[in-house]
């Protein structure tokens, strides 16, 4: 601990600087923030992982 309280926002601060203007990606008429693009990318990764990763077998299945 560095001695800062939780309420000053430094102990639990974000690993990247979130202050300031956002970053955007433009593609024709499509405009999306980098933050939202990252979330969509993570969703696609989780979706593919859910299809491919083996599920632990349990009892009570027919």
């Amino acid at each position: 601990m560095t001695g800062h309280s939780v309420s000053d926002g430094r102990v639990l601060g974000a690993p990247i600087d979130l202050n300031g203007t956002g970053h955007y990606v433009h593609w024709g008429v499509v405009q999306v923030s980098v933050a939202n693009l990252v979330v969509v990318g993570v969703m696609l990764v989780v979706f593919v992982a859910a299809l491919l990763l083996p599920f632990p077998r349990g009892r009570g299945r027919r």
Binding site: L51, F55, P56, R62
Partner: protein, 216 residues
């Protein structure tokens, strides 16, 4: 069902008999599932439901304590953040659930109404999240309301759904839309129990009479 009269009892008796016939206890709360359900893609429905419960509980606490609490106190800010991030997870899991069911063609086997109630739940969730952003009481909510009013006025509903009216948006967010969402989600889950989970396209569903076979 033994012990339940087959006739009489007025409309309550008729509703009870019909409910028990449609959803007997072992179908309403099953303790076995088809073997093809052993896939992570089937987990996202219940993850969505778990997130919704956290959203509702934290939202209830925020409603009880009020804006002076969630804006100023440490615990209030924490619960406010729990409410936000459980919504983020709710939408995250719900969209993956939607993708999984779409590519599984989950409306097969008389499950069209299950698909439709899920879809309407999705749109109701967008409306609930949108009105939530509008009642944050900060510059973000003012900016969103200022931008949204033009879009909504252009389609002619600004007079009935006024995003600049904080009180109206708060009521939509904490009363009307959650009521619709919970009602639809409950109906959706009952339909899943009634029709069973959808089998993968190349799989065979287990017999509907409840007989079991060993997992492969």
């Amino acid at each position: 069902m033994s012990g339940v009269p087959e006739t009489g009892g007025g409309w309550t008796g008729a509703v009870r008999r019909r409910s028990v016939r449609a959803l007997p206890p072992d179908k309403l709360l099953p303790d076995t599932q088809p073997v093809y359900m052993a896939s992570w893609i089937y987990v996202f429905g219940v993850l969505t439901l778990a997130s919704l419960i956290v959203v509702l509980v934290t939202g209830g606490v925020l409603a009880l304590k009020g804006p002076a609490w969630w804006h100023a106190s440490d615990v209030g800010k924490y619960v406010n953040s729990l409410h936000l991030w459980s919504v983020e997870l709710f939408m995250f899991f719900m969209v993956i659930h939607l993708w999984g069911k779409f590519f599984m063609a989950a409306w097969r086997g008389r499950r069209a109404l299950t698909w439709i109630t899920g879809t309407v739940c999705f749109f109701a969730s967008i409306g609930t999240a949108f009105t939530g952003y509008l009642v944050q009481q900060n510059f973000d909510s003012q900016w969103i309301a200022g931008q949204a009013k033009d879009g909504l006025n252009s389609v002619g509903i600004g007079a009935f759904f006024n995003v600049l009216d904080f009180g109206q948006m708060l009521m939509w967010h904490i009363v009307l839309l959650p009521f619709v969402l919970v009602l639809l989600a409950g109906w959706h889950i009952l339909l899943v129990r009634l029709r069973g989970i959808v089998p993968p396209i190349d799989a065979t569903a287990p017999p509907a009479d409840g007989t079991t076979r060993e997992a492969a």
